[in-house]
């Protein structure tokens, strides 16, 4: 008895049908929002989450007041607490002290409340 011939491959016929193409025309690009607004939002959220930023520090509208240096002694535990809080908020210890003085009624103009003067200096803005 003769052997029946081998059947032809049917792989191609069993291949799954191509996926239907999705019409994405209904999805328009996000509402045009000015880049400045997106950048400002990113800055706000970024500061909250401690995000790394490549965004340049914005130019303050009003020049910073001249600064002077003071030296003094405070309890070690107070310095420790300032260091921890400054790290948590990503500001300097100086900022925390100036902020506390402002809250206590000393004059500190709003535009002089700089979170980290080192960054302003490094960028050569002033």
């Amino acid at each position: 008895m003769s052997k029946s011939p081998a059947l032809p491959p049917i792989d191609d016929e069993l291949a799954p049908a191509p996926r239907p193409r999705l019409d994405l025309k209904g999805l328009k690009p996000r509402e045009p929002v000015p880049d400045d607004a997106v950048e400002a939002n990113s800055r706000v959220i970024g500061e909250k989450w401690g995000a790394s930023m490549q965004l340049p520090t914005p130019e303050p509208g009003v020049p910073l007041a001249p600064v002077t240096s003071i030296r003094g002694y405070i309890p070690q535990y107070l310095d420790d607490e300032l260091a921890v809080r400054a790290a948590e908020r990503r500001v300097t210890k100086t900022f925390l002290i100036v902020e506390a003085l402002a809250k206590a009624g000393y004059r500190v103009d709003e535009h002089d409340m700089v979170q980290d003067r080192r960054k302003v200096r490094q960028k050569g803005k002033r």
């Binding site: 191509p18 209904g26 997106v38 959220i45 970024g46 909250k48 989450w49 995000a51």
Partner: protein
């Protein structure tokens, strides 16, 4: 036109792998796809230089300064724009999130990964509040070991799922083919279209496209 970000604060969770596989899958389906490589490591760009895929473009060196402009350019002539974001929290990622229709958050079933993925989800919430527009999102289990799930992985996965987190049903498995594509420049669908790795990618892509379909219908 759909813009999809791949984001997680955690490094090593498979963002670039997901981005490449999804982009390539959609390109092979006939969509015009651009992949914006925002990661400093530029692994997606290296893949882009090697691969031979129709309708697939990788845009390298996307950073905080040029992301919005590059996104606009890509959106103008592509069907799908994928954004491979760097790990960590960055204003670059936050900008991209605000401009995305959908955000895919890959995560391994480990506590550090899930913790960082949840942080990313919270950042998406913040971004949508400030953008005043909803940003759809889903988490995606990645680097799942085929046929084996450790006790700790199951514990993390079941806990997150029991909390009703938005997670895709498909998971991206840990597969040699996903490592080899960086060497060969070919995705599993090109090297072994009937293999498990290709089927795995297809199932994730189908689910993501299903989510985009819902968004397109709701728009």
């Amino acid at each position: 036109m759909a813009t999809v970000s791949i984001a997680s604060a955690k490094g090593g969770c498979g963002k670039t792998t997901v981005a490449i596989l999804l982009a390539a899958e959609l390109a092979l389906d006939g969509y015009r796809v651009a992949l914006l490589d925002c990661d400093l490591n530029q692994h997606a760009s290296a893949f882009g230089a090697k691969c031979d895929l129709p309708c697939f473009t990788v845009i390298p060196h996307v950073n905080d300064t040029n992301v919005l402009a590059e996104l606009r350019k890509a959106e103008a002539d592509q069907d799908v724009v994928l954004i491979d974001l760097p790990g960590g929290s960055s204003t670059l990622a936050l900008k991209a999130l605000q401009r995305s229709h959908f955000v895919l958050v890959p995560t391994q079933a480990s506590l550090p990964d899930v913790r960082d993925a949840m942080k990313t989800v919270a950042q998406i919430d913040d971004a949508q509040d400030l953008a005043r527009a909803p940003i759809a999102r889903a988490m995606l289990w990645t680097r799942f070991l085929p046929g084996f799930e450790s006790k700790s992985a199951r514990h993390v996965r079941e806990t997150l799922e029991s909390q009703g987190a938005n997670i895709l049903k498909s998971a991206l498995m840990e597969r040699a083919a996903f490592r080899e594509m960086h060497i060969t420049g070919k995705v599993p669908r090109q090297t072994d279209p009937k293999g498990g790795a290709a089927a795995n990618v297809a199932s994730v892509a189908v689910e993501v496209m299903g989510r985009l379909k819902q968004l397109a219908e709701a728009a």
